[in-house]
């Protein structure tokens, strides 16, 4: 199977099949990216298409410096920020809570509500890791953060989520940390 970067270079040389293949590979993951972050599923579909329009427009300038996946999510992230700046999107987290009511699955609602309670930056890192399956280095590149900051925020996000989801307290992580502090003393 050809790598994403090879396909993109093929597309740069004019191969329509390469573009179709890239689109087939990433339409699902990008739709997941937008639909989990926006209230409007139809808008999420549009944004997937817009991401690829942006890719086509920037084709000539593309150079395989980093993974294509990071490049695509970078474009998607910019589109999402622009979308959130629009007046309709300024209502904080309304989408996540409301959409929860539409679904019959209580678990999904619980997860959505728990995610909505996290700090915005931590939530974004957690979602990029868990749903988009990005590596720490890729998240760091997208969020323009040092990789160690990504790691510590991701850990905090997971622990906060665990608390919110109502796991038993004190957790093993907390005990682990308190042990280390005692050893330090």
């Amino acid at each position: 199977m050809k790598s994403d970067e090879s396909l993109m270079l093929d597309f740069q040389r004019g191969s329509q099949e390469a573009f179709d293949e890239l689109y087939a590979r990433y339409r699902g993951p990008l739709f997941g990216f937008f639909s989990r972050r926006l209230d409007d599923l139809a808008r999420a579909e549009d944004l997937v298409q817009e991401t690829f329009v942006a890719v086509i427009r920037a084709t000539a300038r593309y150079e395989p410096r980093s993974l294509l996946r990071t490049y695509l999510y970078g474009i998607a992230m910019n589109l999402l920020r622009a979308e959130r700046r629009k007046p309709a999107m300024n209502e904080p987290q309304e989408g996540i809570e409301d959409r929860g009511a539409d679904t019959a699955l209580e678990k999904v609602l619980q997860v959505k509500q728990a995610l909505a309670q996290l700090e915005a930056g931590e939530r974004e890192i957690l979602m990029l890791r868990e749903y988009e399956q990005l590596e720490y280095a890729e998240i760091a590149e997208l969020m323009r953060l040092p990789i160690n900051t990504v790691r510590s925020r991701l850990f905090r996000a997971r622990m906060s989520l665990k608390e919110v989801l109502g796991r038993e307290v004190p957790s093993a992580a907390r005990k682990h940390q308190s042990d280390r502090q005692k050893v330090g003393e």
Binding site: R27, G28, G32, S35, Q133, D179
Partner: protein, 425 residues
């Protein structure tokens, strides 16, 4: 209260497949002994599992090409494309020129060095030992490059194996916990997304049962679907035997193979190294793509354009050069894939030698016989030495004798005449 060798974040990074091979190995061992850390790992896996409950609908819609019919987009795109294509062409020429200059420079440096070193450098020791060091009692050398003992088709296929970034299968299983729901998707995307790591290990052992070692090594590499890169054994008289070699095993099986190799004796030194070559590979692919593009354009020019013979020859020359570069890069790419798919283990095994005490001296008769043989050998050797000396020097001496004979005779005659005159006086 229990002490922890690892931060909770390190354990999380390990579960996410973000730890290095060495650290992963240590964390696996730590998790086996520490209940608290194991519980933390379970919690983290549980959080991931719960998050995966939020699935989104599949999105099968085709790309809406009408979006591209918008005149503004099209115009901008074409303009950009046109401008950047000319830029790309210029930069390609620069790149081709730079690569040619680098290649010439490398050739100028490497070729004389290679010629010089081929004269002075010793070759593969195993190839020279039997002739150059008769002191060694028995030596055996095997060059078995390319031999694959009993590799399964999967293990022979480099591209099937290099996608596994983490060393041991059990480590993969651990980290897989976080991604259970997306395992299938990952498998499909792995060749392009997994880090490409060239793994190497060095192992030095002391073995008591040296005779069995070679057989056991063969069994181990056969079991893990690997092959012998190079192996040489040395058994000098009255000292410890040794075995040195390079084994290649599929990268995911490196840890298991190392564990079995360590059972062959007492470990003196051990080291492992992992070098990520993802960037190198991506760069190489990009360079390959560019060169293929250049080749296609040159072929096109050769086929469709007419011109002066000198121009045609010039294009053909350029095409030859680009094809040469392409072949080199293709070979480099294959070699890189092979290095990633098969980890390299440099192994050195030394026998735990115990010297033997000789308690029986030779008999008197034997000693007389040995003295007689030695005397005879000495006599023959001295006669041969004298004969050789004469043969060596006689032509020179003869020439000088011929040259000096007449002057010496004249001097002698004069001296005799003078002596006679004196005595007569």
């Amino acid at each position: 209260m229990q002490t922890h060798a690892f931060e909770p974040e390190q354990i999380m990074a390990y579960l996410d497949g973000e730890s290095g091979p060495q650290e992963s190995y240590q964390i696996v061992n730590h998790l086996e002994t520490c209940d608290q850390c194991r519980r933390l790992a379970e919690e983290l896996k549980q959080i991931s599992r719960e998050l995966q409950a939020w699935e989104v609908e599949s999105f099968e819609q085709d790309f809406n090409r009408e979006l591209l019919t918008d005149s503004a987009i099209k115009a901008t795109n074409l303009a950009e494309l046109k401008a950047s294509k000319s830029k790309a062409r210029i930069s390609l020429l620069w790149k081709v020129g730079a690569w040619a200059a680098v290649a010439c420079l490398l050739l100028a440096v490497i070729v004389p060095n290679a010629l010089r070193s081929s004269k002075s450098q010793s070759f593969e020791p195993s190839a020279l030992w039997p002739a150059s060091s008769p002191a060694a009692g028995k030596q055996e050398s095997n060059e078995i490059y390319g031999y694959i003992s009993s590799a399964t088709p999967e293990s022979r296929n480099g591209s099937a194996n290099f996608q596994n970034g983490v060393i041991a299968p059990n480590l993969q299983n651990q980290s897989r916990g976080l991604r259970e729901n997306t395992a299938e998707k990952e498998t499909a995307a792995a060749p392009s997304n997994a880090p490409m790591i060239v793994k190497t290990a060095e192992l030095s052992l002391v073995s008591r049962d040296f005779d069995d070692t070679r057989k056991r090594i063969d069994q181990i590499i056969s079991k893990y679907g690997g092959y012998l890169g190079q192996l040489s054994t040395s058994a000098p008289n009255e000292s410890a035997r040794s075995l040195n070699g390079t084994l290649r095993v599929p990268s995911p099986k490196l840890v298991d193979a190392l564990a079995e190799l360590k059972s062959l004796g007492r470990v003196e030194t051990e080291s492992q190294k992992g070098e990520e070559v993802t960037q190198q590979y991506v760069d190489l692919e990009a360079r390959l793509a560019n060169s293929r593009n250049t080749e296609a354009r040159l072929t096109d020019i050769l086929r469709n354009r007419t011109g002066k013979l000198s121009d045609v020859l010039e294009v053909e020359k350029e095409l030859d050069r680009v094809r040469g570069e392409l072949e080199e890069m293709e070979a480099e790419r294959k070699s890189l894939l092979k290095q990633v798919a098969f980890a390299s283990i440099s192994i050195s095994i030394r026998e735990d030698y115990q010297s033997q005490l000789k308690v029986v001296p030779p008999s008197t008769g034997t000693r007389f016989r040995q003295a007689a043989v030695s005397g005879y050998n000495l006599l023959v050797d001295s006669l041969i030495e004298v004969a050789l000396w004469l043969l060596n020097w006689s032509p020179t001496l003869l020439i000088w004798a011929v040259i000096l004979f007449w002057p010496a005779k004249m001097v002698w005659e004069k001296l005799r005449v003078l002596h006679n005159e004196k005595s007569e006086a």
